[in-house]
Amino acid sequence: MQKQAHPIQFTGNGWEYFKIYFVNIMLSILTLGIYSAWAKVRNKRYFYGHTSVAGNSFDYHANPIQILKGRVLVVALLVIYQVVVGFTPLIAPVFSLILLFAVPYFIMRAIKFNMQYSSHRHIRFNFIAEYPYIFFFYIILPISSIFTLGLSYPYAIYKQKQYLSNMSKYGDSYFRFNGTSGEFFLTYFLATFLMIVLYALILSSFNLVDAQFFKDFAEAFQKGIKASLENNTTTLYADDTKTNSQFIMILGGIYAFFIFNILLFSAFVNTRLTNYLFNNLELADIHFSSHISFFHLLWIYISNLVLIVLTMGLFIPWAKLRAVSYKLSCMSLFSNELDSFISQESVKANVLGEEFSDFLDIDIGF
C-alpha cells in the first residue's frame, strides 16, 4: 500500500520572531542574564510550535528554572577552574582529564534533556543512552582517528549519528537508522577534495612563480607582530594607521576567505549528512525524506552573513528563521496513519528517584 506523504510545515513569521528575539535579549540584559533561561525556552517553543506535520505541531516543555540551574552550575565550574588553575597552573592537566570524562556525560544529559521535553501530539520524545557508549563514540573514536591521520573520523561521526538515532524514542517506539558508513566517508572525502581544489585555485591566482606575494606576506606578517605589540595597552605609541593598513588588508582577505571556507564546508557536510540521515531513518512504519539542496543552503548562509553585517546584527532573527524554514520545507514523512503511537507517560511517573534525576536534568547548552 502506498504510504501517504506529509510534508513538514513551518509557519514562523520573520517580523513576529524579530520582536520575540529582541524582547528576549532586552529582558535578559535587564535581569543580568537570569531571564536568558526563559528566553531560551520561548525561543525553542517558537520554532517547535510553528513546525507541524499533518496539522499537528510540536511543543517544548522545559522548565526554565532547570536551565537556569544548569547555567549557574556551568558558570560556577568555569570560575572554579579559572581560580584554581590561576593559582596552581600545574593542576590544569588534571582538570583536562576530568573534563575528558565529564564532557560525554554532559552531552548525554543535554540531549536527553532536550528530547524529554520535546513533544508532538502531546507524546514526548526521549533518549535512552548509556554513558560507556557515549564515551566511546564521542571521545575514544574521534581521538583514535588521530592515529589514522583523520581517515577514520567519518566513521566516528557515523557511529555518533547512528547511536543518537537508535537511542531516540517517540512515545514507546524507537527510531532506527539504517544507513551505512559509506556515505559518511564519501561526504568527508568530497568535502576535503572541494577544499583542496579551492585552495589550489586561490594559490595559483596569486601566481606562485612570482615570489612577490610571499615576500609581501612575510613583510606584512612582521608588521603584524609590530602592530600587536604596539596595540598593547602599555606601549607608548601606536603607528596604527600608517603601517597597519597593509597588514589589515591582507589579514582581512585571509579572514574572509576562511569564513567562506567554513560556510562552504559546513553547508556541504550538513546538507549531505542531514539528507542521508533522514532518508534512512524509520520510526515504526513511518519513514522520512529530506532533499536539502547544497547550493540553496549555501546561498542562504552567505546572504544571511552579508545581511547580518549590513544591518549590524538586526537581521539575526530573520537569518535563523530563513535557514530553519528552508531546511524544514525540504523534509517530509511518509506513513499510513499517525495515530497509533503509545505514550510511556504513565510508566515514567512510577520510576523511583525521579526527583533526583529531575535535579540532574540540567541543560548545559548555551
Binding site: 535579549i25 602599555t234 548562509y301 499517525l338
Partner: protein, 332 residues
C-alpha cells in the same frame, strides 16, 4: 470553538467543540459533554501563533488554534494565562523601538561605566606579588622574536638610569622599577611596560630624543601604566567584553561569532585609549613634581608621529588616542 482533544496515552486525538462559560470549560464530543472548572485547569502561555494547550488535570490535553478566543475567555474570568505580559511586549510593534533603545543603551552604559569601574576595583585589590606574575616571561619571548641587545654605550645607559632613579625615588605605591634597553629595527622608536615594573625602551627612541628630559617624560607615562595596573585591567575588561558579546550572539549562527570580531575590536580599542589618557595624566603629574617642562613630552611625541595628520575617524580603530589630542595637554 473547534479544538482537538488528546488523551496523552496515544498520538490519536478527537475533534471536539469547546466553550468557556460560567467559570468552566465545556468539551463537546459527538456523544457527550465533559465539564472542567477553570480553577482546575492550566493554559499554556501564548507565543506567536502556536496552538494553545489546555491541560485538563486528568492527564488529557485540549489544543485550540484560536489564541484570541482563549485570551478573551481568560480575561473575562480573570485567569492568569502564563506570561501574558511577555506576549504583550512581544506582539506589539510599538514596543520594539523602545526595546531596541533600552537594550543598546544598557549595553553602552555597562561597557562605558560598569566594566571599567569594576576592572579598576578588582585590579587594585590584587596584591603586587600576584600582579607581577601577569605577563611574566613576555620579555624573554619578545627577546626571541623581535628584540635584540642594545647598542647604546654604557655611559648613556648609566646616565639614563641615574636620571630615571632620581625621578622615581619620590613616587609611591610602585613595585621595584627596572629599565631595559633593547635594539629593534622592526618595532622602531617605542617603549612599553610590564606589570612587574619593567620598562622597555628601544634604542631607536633614545636616538630620536634630543635630551634626557624627553625620555624621562616617556618613562613617566610608562610608570603610569604600571602604577594603575593597566595590563591587568585590560585583561579583565577584554574578558568582560567577550562574555557580553558571547551572551548577545550566543544562540545565533556560528558565523556571527566571526562577525562579532569588529565590534569587539572597536570596544577594546576604546578601553585602551582610556587607559592611555590615564597614563598621560600620570606622566603630567610626575613631570610637574620633578619640574620637567611639559613641552618635552609634546616634542618627542610630535617627532614620533612624524607630522602625520591623523583623522578623528581613524582614532576609533586605534589603540591609542590621536597624537594631536595627546600633546594638547602637555603645554606649559
Amino acid at each position: 470553538m473547534k479544538a482537538k482533544l488528546f488523551d496523552k496515552q496515544s498520538s490519536g486525538f478527537d475533534r471536539v467543540e469547546i466553550e468557556i462559560k460560567e467559570g468552566a470549560l465545556h468539551i463537546k464530543t459527538a456523544e457527550h459533554v465533559s465539564t472542567y472548572l477553570l480553577s482546575e485547569i492550566t493554559f499554556s502561555s501564548r507565543l506567536g501563533n502556536m496552538p494553545r494547550s489546555i491541560y485538563l488535570g486528568d492527564g488529557k490535553v485540549c489544543e485550540c488554534e484560536d489564541n484570541d478566543f482563549i485570551d478573551k475567555a481568560l480575561k473575562e474570568f480573570k485567569i492568569d494565562g502564563g506570561s501574558g505580559f511577555i506576549h504583550h511586549l512581544e506582539s506589539n510593534s510599538i514596543y520594539i523601538l523602545p526595546a531596541l533603545f533600552i537594550t543598546i543603551s544598557v549595553i553602552f552604559l555597562f561597557l562605558k561605566f560598569v566594566v571599567p569601574y569594576s576592572a579598576e576595583k578588582i585590579a587594585s585589590s590584587i596584591p603586587q606579588n600576584i600582579a607581577s606574575q601577569v605577563g611574566q616571561g613576555s620579555l624573554e619571548a619578545l627577546d626571541k622574536i623581535i628584540l635584540k641587545p642594545t647598542k647604546l654605550s654604557k655611559e648613556k645607559q648609566e646616565e639614563l638610569r641615574s636620571d630615571f632613579k632620581k625621578m622615581t625615588q619620590s613616587l609611591q605605591d610602585l613595585p621595584p622599577l627596572a629599565l631595559h634597553f633593547r635594539f629593534s629595527e622592526e618595532i622602531g622608536p617605542n617603549a612599553f611596560a610590564l606589570p612587574d615594573g619593567s620598562i622597555i625602551i628601544t634604542d631607536q627612541l633614545v636616538l630620536l630624543s634630543k635630551n634626557n628630559n624627553e625620555l624621562l617624560s616617556i618613562f613617566a607615562h610608562e610608570i603610569g601604566h604600571i602604577k594603575n595596573r593597566h595590563a591587568i585591567r585590560m585583561v579583565l575588561q577584554n574578558s568582560a567584553v567577550l562574555v557580553i558579546i558571547a551572551t548577545l550572539t550566543g544562540d545565533a549562527t556560528t558565523a556571527s561569532s566571526v562577525l562579532s570580531a569588529l565590534p569587539t575590536m572597536l570596544i577594546e580599542s576604546s578601553f585602551s585609549r582610556e587607559l592611555e589618557n590615564e597614563a598621560d595624566a600620570y606622566a603630567l603629574f610626575v613631570m610637574k613634581k620633578n619640574n620637567i617642562s611639559l613641552h618635552h613630552f609634546a616634542d618627542i611625541m610630535t617627532r614620533l608621529s612624524d607630522g602625520y595628520e591623523e583623522s578623528k575617524t581613524q582614532e576609533y580603530f586605534s589603540s591609542h588616542p590621536i597624537t594631536s589630542s595627546r600633546i594638547s595637554k602637555f603645554k606649559d
